[in-house]
């Protein structure tokens, strides 16, 4: 079953502070994601892999093209949806995880992880239990669960971020280098989480520089090439 179908995506950054320099990154980009399958984005640095991921999440606004996402049983074009619908799709259907945690002041790690579950209407106890289990699984020691991750090491923050992303059972999950800078043991834990997500029917789209990770989870690859400069 197709859960995401993007076509004709165009994205050019116009840098007004640099004399209006135009940086074309996506031209006619598109892809299809199916339930239970994982696509790996490949290509050299600067090919627009992260830009494509962010465009699919609605974080970068495309100037043309469609991003049709299966949401509440219908295909909705994210590129053309009002803000409240994009928020709803991000809450229920489309997850995004990068290697960087945007830490909130004073919010405990367990609450950071539980927040998206609560946003979806989960009961407080269920969300807390799920958060605890995910933090345990990613090797965050129990005493740290009650502390704000602002003070954690980079690796710990990354694992809190992954716990947050995998706490929800997203139908579609976009992953930008989820295992970058993790040690082998934690990398294998994340591979396990991605495989479990696929097994329950999630569609995954990821950028994985680590070949081991790509081979372990990806069913197909999509290669992007940098666009040639144009006016």
């Amino acid at each position: 079953m197709i859960v995401l179908d993007a076509a004709g995506l165009e994205k050019t950054f116009v840098l007004h502070l640099q004399n209006g320099t135009r940086l074309p990154v996506l031209r006619g980009a598109g892809l299809t994601l199916r339930a239970g399958r994982c696509v790996a984005l490949t290509g050299p640095s600067g090919a627009g892999k992260s830009t494509l991921l962010r465009a699919l999440y609605g974080n970068y606004r495309v100037s043309a093209g469609s991003i049709r996402v299966r949401h509440r049983g219908a295909m909705i074009d994210m590129a053309d949806a009002p803000p409240e619908r994009v928020i709803e799709i991000r809450r229920e259907t489309l997850g995004y995880v990068s290697q960087f945690l945007r830490a909130m002041p004073r919010l405990a790690a367990r609450d950071v992880v539980a927040a998206p579950l609560l946003d979806r209407g989960a009961a407080a106890e269920a969300a807390a239990a799920r958060a605890r289990a995910m933090l345990d699984r990613l090797g965050i020691p129990t005493p740290l669960h009650a502390l704000p991750p602002v003070t954690f090491s980079g690796g710990e923050q990354q694992r809190v971020n992954l716990a947050r992303a995998f706490a929800c059972e997203w139908p579609i999950l976009l992953l930008d280098e989820p295992t970058a800078s993790l040690d082998a043991a934690n990398r294998d834990i994340v591979i396990g989480l991605m495989r479990e997500a696929k097994a329950r029917g999630a569609a995954l789209l990821g950028i994985f520089h680590d070949r081991h990770v790509r081979d372990a989870v990806a069913d197909e690859t999509l290669s992007l090439e940098p666009l040639k400069e144009s006016a």
Partner: protein, 254 residues
């Protein structure tokens, strides 16, 4: 569902166009931040939207459950009632909003009484509960606000505003002028309360970090005009307008 809508607002102060053809709408439970530098018209916009000053032209509409209707057509008494019961206003300087010669509990209780509460014991208990909610020791209920720190005063103003459970809260630079550590506490408190109470919020701030933390959507203003709108992360991560790019790139990374 649209709760508040502004159409083609214009407002001049002498030769200066503080609002130049501004339109926007706010949905129930939505948090929208209006960002821009000093003099961009953002505070004027907040004052016009909340009925505190009248626009030269244009309309502000509000839905009290029977569809959108102009607030100007309600008459002074009904507008005041709307402001006191369904709306709240958090000002940058809590000293302007609070009565410093009245106890903390009295400041909270006053709003409750305006909206109809009469039972002294209930009012006192509610005031104590709200002090606790905003992390002020309920033992300070009978203290005068002038003995409070700036951060405590701001939290007291928030309690006095939210106690009547408004559906829409206007906030004008709620963390302006506070120490960074105090700001974080206020922001965290506001973020939690807004979600828990299901409030709609129109927030004016020049601080992009505040907007990122609290807002679903951003409205960027310059010289009295809206130059860009979008989801908060879209506008901040992929700013399109020249002015927004300048605003975003001028922030020091934390």
């Amino acid at each position: 569902m649209t709760l508040l809508q502004a159409r083609d607002l214009r407002k001049r102060f002498g030769p200066v166009a503080a609002l130049d053809d501004v339109s926007l709408s706010l949905r129930r439970r939505e948090i929208v931040a209006i960002v821009g530098e000093s003099g961009s018209g953002k505070s004027t916009l907040l004052n016009v939207l909340s009925g505190r000053i009248a626009p030269d032209s244009g309309t502000v509409l509000y839905d009290e459950g029977e569809g959108l209707s102009p607030i100007a057509g309600r008459g002074e008494a009904r507008l005041r009632h709307l402001q006191r019961t369904r709306w709240g206003f958090v000002q940058q300087d809590p000293r302007q909003a609070l009565r410093l010669s009245v106890t903390a509990g009295g400041n909270i209780g006053e709003r409750l009484m305006v909206s109809g509460a009469r039972h002294y014991g209930d009012i006192r208990a509610t005031a104590a509960r709200w002090l606790e909610t905003v992390e002020i020791d309920p033992a300070r209920l009978d203290d005068l606000p002038r003995t409070f720190s700036g951060g405590m005063l701001q939290r007291l103003q928030i309690a006095a505003t939210l106690v009547t459970e408004p559906e829409l809260v206007f906030m004008d630079e709620p963390t302006g002028g506070l120490d960074v550590s105090v700001q974080a506490r206020i922001l965290d408190l506001v973020r939690g309360l807004v979600r828990r109470l299901g409030l709609a919020v129109l927030l004016v701030t020049h601080d992009i970090g505040v907007a990122r933390l609290l807002a679903d959507r951003l409205v960027v203003m310059r010289h009295g005009r809206i130059v860009e709108t979008g989801l908060t992360d879209q506008v901040l991560d992929d700013p399109h307008h020249e002015y927004t790019q300048l605003l975003v790139s001028s922030v020091l990374p934390a």
